[in-house]
């Protein structure tokens, strides 16, 4: 629980005049669930994008399991065991949910077998099992472009989990999920991730979700980490409440 899985040091990245990362220092511990909160435009997604290789920081380093990964191609970073899900679900819309999951398995196992079907028994089995864990069995054979937002979100995360990462970065896993289903979705998610011993970093706007599931919270503000610690302590901080949560609660209302 105490060893560092991912370590970011002095990350900086500006778009024009906007500082999306202005000296980010952060350690992610093995096995923890770390929530990132903060107003829109604070640079939360930018952190995920830098960690997964989509954006290259202008300064600073990121290391994973002790080895530097700064500026590597997304593909190489995935190969090391870091996966991500997306705020806007990125599904293969011409495929069924089952095939989407199987494609993720193929990505992990290597796709270079031109004569064996994608839905070979072993992969089909694994994909079905994965969807079942996410409660998506009923829509396994539906086309990905025919799903509602909540299901698309879960399918998107399921695909990331199929890669068997040790670190999973999730960009707003509950946005777009109906309020009534939200807790259930997170419950499912937490169970799956704990069972698979995945460390998770997730951007979240719902403070109830944060309080209940995060081991630690990092508060983002204008490209900096304004506060970091256990949810109870951080969320009780008057500064944080005024700067961030007020806005969040307001935005959520």
């Amino acid at each position: 629980m105490s060893d560092v899985l991912l370590s970011a040091r002095g990350l900086r990245l500006a778009f024009g005049g906007v500082k999306a990362a202005d000296g980010i220092d952060l350690n992610v511990m093995r096995g923890e669930f770390l929530a990132i909160i903060g107003p829109n435009g604070a640079g939360k997604t930018t952190f995920i994008n830098m960690t997964t290789g989509y954006l290259r920081p202008q300064a600073g380093t990121i290391s994973y399991e002790g080895a530097p990964i700064t500026g590597m191609a997304p593909r190489r970073i995935v190969a090391r065991g870091i996966a991500r899900s997306f705020q806007l679900p990125q599904l293969f819309t011409e495929h069924t949910v089952l095939e989407n999951a199987a494609l993720a398995i193929a990505a992990r196992e290597g796709p270079w077998s031109p004569l064996k079907p994608l839905l070979r028994p072993a992969w089909r089995e694994e994909a079905r099992d994965l969807l079942e864990r996410f409660g998506l069995s009923a829509i396994a054979d539906a086309r990905a472009d025919a799903l509602n937002e909540g299901a698309r979100k879960l399918a998107d995360i399921a695909m990331a989990v199929a890669l068997k990462p040790r670190l999973l970065l999730m960009d707003e896993p509950t946005s777009g999920v109906a309020a009534s289903e939200k807790m259930q979705v997170v419950e499912t998610l937490a169970r799956v991730l704990r069972a698979a011993q995945v460390t998770a970093v997730f951007v979240e706007h719902d403070m109830d979700v944060v309080e209940r599931f995060a081991d630690r919270v990092a508060v983002w503000s204008q490209g900096k980490i304004a506060a970091l610690g256990p949810p109870a302590a951080v969320l009780a901080d008057p500064e944080v409440q005024r700067e961030v949560i007020g806005i969040e609660r307001h935005a959520a209302a």
Partner: protein, 311 residues
């Protein structure tokens, strides 16, 4: 080197002048193609046919009217009228009756529908104008020649190609830049180009903008053709040649670029005409070679921004 220039200097001058005039025409077509692609997201292969039909119509209309006593000074105006007719009629027809049905289709299929239209229009031209060359250079004769001083000598060159063609192209460039940046409709067009979803979500009437843009692009193509008609005799195949060239310009410049298209058209126009004079067998190849060379170095085109995909 000195000896070469002594011998070929005037030829080079002529090639440059020719290239400039040619680049002006290429720009007119390519910029319309680019604009239409930016807004409708349909790469219109039939754009070259509009150029060809514009050229044929201008030539025929001129011949028809002058046979009925149209004064010679009006021959320039005839070119513009022909272009407006062709673009103004065919443009809306094509957008409303054909393109409208395929906006939801895959890009490949959209491209192929316009390819089909291109095939139909090619044969239609042959049926209407035949395969014999059609020529009407009244507009060019009207303005006479102009002696261009070059390297201590003079090159006689038609005033039409020297002033009218580049003049219209520059006016189009400036006018278009002004229109897109300063007028409301222009800004709406830019907004739709940059982010169609956001623009339509904001209540922009996309359907009207599509019609307007396509018609405008069609008029530009037809105008390019009409303006080209006095400088050469028209034969079948001019549409195919034009569309390939404008695709090359658009791909080389990068999608959505106006000033970029102008520079690229100039580059391709000049190199092509230098090839015509000094290495005729490479004429067909120059645009392709330039495009391949540019895209090798800059995959998004000379002026295109690297595509930022939303995640």
């Amino acid at each position: 080197m000195y000896g070469w220039f002594e011998e070929n200097g005037l030829l080079l001058g002529l090639a440059l002048l020719d290239g400039l005039a040619y680049a002006a025409l290429v720009f007119m077509v390519a910029v319309g193609l680019n604009l239409v692609f930016g807004v409708l997201r349909v790469l219109n292969v039939a754009h070259g046919s509009l150029y060809a039909i514009g050229a044929y119509t201008a030539a025929s209309l001129g011949l028809f009217l002058s046979a009925r006593g149209l004064p010679e000074w009006a021959s320039l105006a005839v070119l513009v009228v022909a272009a407006a007719l062709v673009g103004g009629i065919l443009g809306p027809l094509i957008e409303r009756l054909l393109l409208r049905r395929i906006y939801a289709q895959e890009p490949v299929l959209q491209l192929l529908v316009t390819f089909a239209l291109f095939m139909i229009l090619e044969d239609a031209q042959k049926l209407i104008w035949g395969t014999q060359p059609v020529q009407n250079d009244a507009a060019m004769r009207l303005l006479g020649n102009f002696d261009v001083p070059f390297a201590g000598d003079f090159i006689p060159f038609t005033a039409y190609q020297l002033f009218v063609l580049p003049g219209v192209a520059v006016a189009t460039l400036v006018g278009l830049a002004w229109f897109l940046r300063r007028t409301l409709t222009g800004r709406v067009i830019v907004a739709v180009t940059t982010d169609r979803e956001a623009a339509t979500a904001m209540g922009i009437d996309a359907s009207r903008i599509y019609l307007l843009t396509f018609t405008f692009g069609a008029v530009l193509a037809a105008l390019g053709g009409a303006l080209s008609s006095p400088t050469a005799s028209l034969v079948p195949g001019v549409g195919a040649q034009t569309i390939v060239l404008s695709f090359a310009v658009v791909a080389t410049a990068g999608l959505g670029q106006i000033e970029g298209a102008a520079l690229t058209a100039l580059m391709i126009g000049l190199s092509r005409s230098i090839a015509v004079y000094f290495m005729p067998e490479a004429e067909v190849l120059t645009p392709y070679l330039i495009m391949v060379a540019v895209l090798l170095i800059r995959p998004q085109g000379l002026f295109g921004a690297a595509e930022t995909r939303r995640v």
